[in-house]
Amino acid sequence: MNDLSIWQQLVQQTQLRWDEVVTATSVHIQLVFFSMIIATIIAVSLGILVTRVPQLKTIILGGTGILQTIPSLALLGFMIPIFGIGVKTAIAALFLYSLLPIMRNTYTGIKEVDPATIEAARGMGMTSAQILFRVELPLALPTIMAGIRTAAVINVGNATLAAFIGAGGLGDFIFLGITRGIDGLILLGAIPAALLAILIESLFTLIERWSTPKGLRNV
């Protein structure tokens, strides 16, 4: 069957495996979604913590920075002894990868709020919590959203590797395509993954625009 051109292979594989593609895409989305939810909650909290306790900045930002440098496949490997093989490990690894961009943007977003605004807020008698929730976070929201977008797009790519540890997702086709030497099968995983990344990118761009406080938008 290898005498078919790559596009013919793709068409053939799509007809053959359409149901599998739908399932794998759904698994893929779930991997990204759950890892992102946990990462967002924890990374935003840590980012806020770092702005309040500057001594932690080196440890936390440095620590997650080091995590980021570990190759994705190696990180998945490290996770296996802890979580075993499967979805849990994949989500844990994707979660760790998402921490840095979100946390760094949370930190930067809050730090970039005009000090004069914060001083005025203090001078008006706002408490530290009021300043955080009514001034710092709303003003940092666009930057935080940008961090989440970056993490999500990277995650869509990294999630294809989850197939190697049996977590499923679109990586299954790529993996299979490589081992069997069917280029069309590789595309069957790669094209939906790429489309998914583009979709998430555009979706977050919309959310970012919507989450930017009105007074900050360019008229």
Partner: protein, 375 residues
């Protein structure tokens, strides 16, 4: 009323920003804190609402040590205006102004009314501006909102840290005037930090001059100009300021103290020789107690001298006259109405103590420049 009692601020690194400062700010006063950068003027102001905590001494705000207040509570009752304004960019103008009343738990309707009232007070159109965002306003308009926000919860103390320094000169002058009007209307104590002496002289009921964390002198603008307690104060005030602020210079500073006078029973011949000798155009007439009676002009004297026995017969009352309490500005303005270019200066008992002429006025003014040039 705010009382500083041996207050100091030392940072953890050991830097002494403010050192042993004691003074009192009266209720309803507009006190200006001025000094070069690093003098501790802003720090001193910010210790009042504990934006910067002091490390020694006590600061009493309305009778109570300010460390006994909850800091947020304290700040909500003290208006705060800074140079960079610091409006919340994501709040509308109305929301910005409503902030403190909201924190204090006012009801919606009261807040709404207060916002309207304040926009009017600071000269902004409610319909036009209330629902706008800060970045849509000019710098001057933003600071108007900053002042409205600070006044929103009707504080009796207002702290202002170089509020007009970032504005263009025309807007600055406009806002200075309006703030003075507000200060009169509202019976509010204002502590105003600036590095601009002209601004200090315009705004301050009293001015506190600071340097290297110490308070050098706290006095009225007049006293600072004429009785500087410290060489630095004198230098910092600058000599030329008298020209820009003639209203601060007592008329006694620019008058000639030696005045040629005559008694009313003087003969016209002797009067004429006196006039010629002193090269003057008018002779002031005083009685034996030096009380000013009037004047005789050389012109009248020459015309009528054959028909009179004493100069009293052609003496005319002199107008205008100023008292020793008048300022140089009064003299400058009145000089136009003085037909012979003379303004006699008298004290409470009507005694003549000096004379301002066009010449002495000019000399006083120009000496400010020449001294400036020399130094």
């Amino acid at each position: 009323m705010i009382i500083f009692d041996h207050v100091g601020k030392k940072y953890e690194g050991g830097f002494q920003a403010v050192q042993d400062v004691s003074f009192q700010i009266e209720r309803g006063e507009l006190l200006v804190l001025i000094g070069p950068s690093g003098s501790g003027k802003s720090t001193t102001m910010k210790m009042i609402n504990r934006i910067i905590p002091h490390t020694t001494g006590t600061i009493r705000v309305n009778g109570k040590d300010n460390t006994t207040y909850n800091p947020s509570e304290l700040r909500r009752n003290i208006g705060y205006v800074i140079q960079q304004v610091g409006l919340f960019p994501h709040y509308t103008i109305a929301q910005n102004i409503a902030l403190v009343p909201q924190l204090k738990g006012w009801n919606e309707k009261a807040i709404e009314e207060r916002v309207e009232e304040l926009l009017l007070l600071v000269g902004l159109d409610s319909e036009l501006h209330a629902s706008r965002y800060p970045k849509e306003l000019s710098g001057g308009q933003q600071q108007r909102v900053g002042i409205a926000r600070a006044l929103a919860a009707k504080p009796d103390i207002l702290l202002m840290d170089e509020p007009f320094s970032a504005l263009d000169p025309i807007t600055r002058e406009e806002l200075q005037k309006e703030l003075l009007t507000l200060h009169e209307q509202l019976d509010i104590t204002i502590v105003f930090v600036t590095h601009d002496m002209d601004e200090a002289l315009t705004m301050g009921d009293r001015i506190a001059i600071m340097k290297d964390g110490r308070l050098l002198q706290l006095d009225t603008p007049e006293k600072l100009l004429y009785e500087p307690a410290h060489g630095f104060v004198e230098q910092f005030m600058g000599k030329h300021r008298i020209i820009q602020n003639p209203e601060l210079m007592p008329v006694t500073e620019i008058m000639a103290e030696t005045v040629t006078t005559a008694h009313p029973n003087l003969s016209p011949e002797r009067a004429l020789s006196l006039i010629r000798q002193k090269k003057i155009t008018d002779l002031l007439i005083v009685d034996r107690q030096s009380k000013l009676l009037g004047a005789v002009s050389a012109y009248d004297l020459i015309k009528k001298m054959d028909h009179i026995q004493t100069i009293e017969e052609i003496m005319t009352p002199i107008q205008p006259i100023l008292t020793t309490k008048a300022t140089s500005k009064d003299a400058i303005i009145l000089m136009d109405e003085a037909p012979s270019g003379l303004i006699p200066i008298i004290d409470d008992t009507h005694q003549l103590i000096g004379l301002v002429t066009r010449g002495s006025l000019l000399t006083a003014m120009s000496s400010q420049w020449t001294e400036e040039v020399v130094s």
